[in-house]
């Protein structure tokens, strides 16, 4: 991952375990097929990230 970032002159971001990503994928999209779907608000999305342990500055949706 470090080599990939160096090749692209980009700083390393954050790594996430597949189990955590799976949990996030399930919650993030759980309502997507519903007729009344609307995009979640930033606080609602932040709560989903928090719920799977993705906290801290990198995971903050607000500047």
């Amino acid at each position: 991952m470090r080599r990939w970032c160096e090749d692209r002159s980009t700083r390393p971001g954050a790594t996430v375990a597949l189990e955590t990503l799976w949990a996030l994928a399930r919650s993030w999209y759980d309502d997507r097929l519903e007729l009344g779907w609307r995009r979640r608000t930033p606080p609602e999305r932040q709560a989903l990230l928090d719920a799977v342990g993705l906290t801290g500055p990198f995971w903050s949706l607000t500047p």
């Binding site: 799976w22 399930r26 993030w28 999209y29 997507r32 009344g36 949706l61 500047p63």
Partner: protein
């Protein structure tokens, strides 16, 4: 939408947009690809211009779809991609493209099916495969997020 010559009222527009959005998602789920504007027009008995308005509303107003720049063709209905990506998703005989590993896993979660995600290490090129069975994920590796969360929607195609 009432008579085709009359502009629809706001409530009717929103209701139609919601039904079109859901139809797009079901189409992706069933076929692995996006419906074309012509297919949407036929399904909802709309004119091409009306379909363009609905798709534009879904893309910019509701932030529900991503269109190919300068067109009415659907690029993404997250987590589905209409174009081939590095993340092929499979379940039985069905195939889809995910926009990223998160979206690829989300396709299986959204459809509540067992399946797999095939991709390759972006550094060494080795094939990577993630399996999902009975609601659990198995596979090697971690996912790297290069873009901080606050910038995800700055350029969704790049993210």
């Amino acid at each position: 939408m009432g008579d085709r010559g009359d502009p629809p009222v706001a409530g009717e527009r929103a209701e139609l947009a919601g039904r079109v959005r859901q139809h797009v998602y079901r189409w992706f789920a069933d076929t692995g690809r996006a419906p074309s504007p012509v297919e949407l027009a036929r399904a909802f008995e709309l004119t091409p211009s009306q379909v363009e308005h609905v798709l534009e509303e879904l893309a910019t107003g509701a932030d529900a779809l991503v269109l190919l720049p300068g067109s009415s063709y659907i690029w993404m209905a997250e987590p589905f991609s209409a174009v081939p990506t590095s993340f092929l998703v499979g379940s039985g005989e069905r195939r889809w493209w995910g926009n990223c590993i998160w979206d690829a896993l989300a396709i299986l979660a959204l459809l509540d099916v067992d399946g797999w995600v095939a991709t390759a290490c972006p550094d060494c090129g080795d094939e990577l495969r993630v399996e999902v069975a009975a609601g659990r994920v198995a596979g090697e590796g971690v996912a790297h997020f290069a873009v901080p969360a606050r910038d995800w929607w700055r350029s969704i195609g790049f993210t």
